[in-house]
Amino acid sequence: MDNSVSSQNSLVSVRNLSFSRGDKKIFDGISLDIERGKITAIMGPSGTGKTTLLKLIGGQLYPEQGSITVDGQNVHQLRRTDLYNLRKRMGMLFQSGALLTDMSVYDNVAFPLREHTHLPESMIRTLVLMKLQAVGLRGARNLMPNELSGGMARRIALARAIALDPMMILYDEPFTGQDPISMGVLVHLIKAFNNILGLTSIIVSHDVHDTSAIADYIYVLSGGKIAGQGTPKEIQQSESEWVQQFMTGAADGPVHFHYPAKDYVDDLLSSGKRY
């Protein structure tokens, strides 16, 4: 890929990013670019820090080293008010939906509008109904979050994420634990919102099939590094054994099936002392 072209048109650029949790190094000097108006997927097995990357982009965590620039602003050097202003232009869809449980669906979608604008209630109503219509859940406006299925909760959270018409949406594992129909609905919505609203989308996922169906560009993370990157087609044809194993879901390969252990026969024949 041509790095220089993409960095000119990139909305988010991550440069030389390092981050650790305790002794574990989550990112070890990674750099990547998220292009404007495109759907970029960040993939990798569980525990590779995909969600952590979203939190770093949103300024909820601080990197040890390196920088993250969103729309020309260095996220971690912004003052609090500027960071909050930047966040108003980002939507984030959490894995759990993160709906406020003491409010109805309607009030949840109205929440960012009420907090950040001084619009009259009649206009807020119109906006909320439009957003709910877009995710197909206008009829569910009076339900409480505990009455929603997982897929519905995620759609409501999506309606809330687009309430302030952001420039970018960060999706944290949007497809995890969804039935085929909800999955299809979410795939459709992510694609449609990206194209119709002119958003930039970042999807963090380990769902190879559905994510590569809608992504324009994919980064595959492993062990704190970028193991592979390219369009879905390029990734499918990647020569890296690791990427191949991840994409095809082979049980054994560079990522071993067995957790490191001593020799099997020795282990069975040993005295049975606990280690």
Partner: protein, 260 residues
């Protein structure tokens, strides 16, 4: 020995770090209070769930404590032929000590534990994090209104506790045991001092309200976001609040009534 010292060092450091985080959190809460004032609705909702919903437990407990005080006081005072002073005894015990202290302990058990569990679960379900990503400061929107509600509710609840307790003492003293009703009330009026007794009691309950709300909210906010973490935090709220309330009560009593 070395291990013991290491353990001691580690736990001291952990406690001090936590104290530091708690203090920083308190400063954030206080600076967030200004943004609650233009939105009285947020405060009223919390006053309802923290204060009004504690109404029943406070009233019933106050009544029983007052009745027991009436009984016990009568038995002791009648030995000296001083049962006419029952009113003063009941009222002074309630207004100076039992009102603020028992109310604060009940508050920590009823409202404090609920606050910790609520905030802890909001953290565990990413609601606080989600709010931050929507550019809404959870301290200003969620924590400060709850703090202010707890802080304002406590003196009101303590006053209610004492008032109901005094009526309970009167019910037992005059109703059952035959203490003269006029003496019960007039002795109370003559001997209770507004400044020394009532104001000092109110100051106590304000301090307890401040501390109990702070502990409850901090434990919730600082909880490990799992079900076990939230359950431990809830327990810590009740235990730490009880210790702080009783410890502070001793200190405050020494300061207030020390030179009598």
């Amino acid at each position: 020995m070395i291990q013991f010292l290491q353990y001691l060092g580690k736990s001291t450091r952990t406690s001090f770090t936590k104290l530091g985080r708690g203090t920083y959190f308190l400063l954030q809460i206080i600076s967030g209070i200004l943004s609650v004032l233009p939105r009285p609705r947020l405060l009223l909702n919390q006053m309802y769930s923290v204060g009004v919903l504690s109404f029943l437990i406070i009233t019933i407990s106050g009544l029983f404590v007052g009745m027991v005080l009436g009984l016990q006081g009568y038995y002791t005072l009648s030995d000296f032929g001083a049962e006419e002073s029952l009113g003063v005894m009941v009222a002074a015990s309630l207004v100076r000590e039992l009102g603020p202290v028992v109310t604060a302990l009940l508050f920590a058990g009823r409202a404090g534990s609920a606050l910790t569990a609520e905030i802890g679960l909001m953290k565990a379900t990413e609601q606080l994090s989600g709010m931050e990503m929507m550019a809404v400061d959870p301290i200003k929107r969620i924590i400060s209104p709850r703090f202010l509600a707890g802080f304002l509710s406590m003196p009101l609840l303590a006053a209610l506790f004492s008032a109901v307790g005094i009526i309970g003492g009167q019910m037992v003293g005059s109703g059952l045991l035959g203490v003269d009703e006029g003496a019960y009330w007039s002795q109370m009026q003559n001997n209770l001092d507004f400044q020394d007794d009532i104001i000092n009691g109110v100051i106590k309950s304000i301090v307890f309200g401040f501390v109990a709300s702070w502990i409850a909210l901090f434990e919730g906010y600082d909880a490990i976001p799992t079900s076990e973490g939230v359950s431990r935090a809830t327990t810590r709220t009740v235990v730490n609040s009880a210790f702080s309330i009783l410890g502070l009560d001793f200190i405050l009593t020494t300061l207030m009534f020390g030179d009598d």
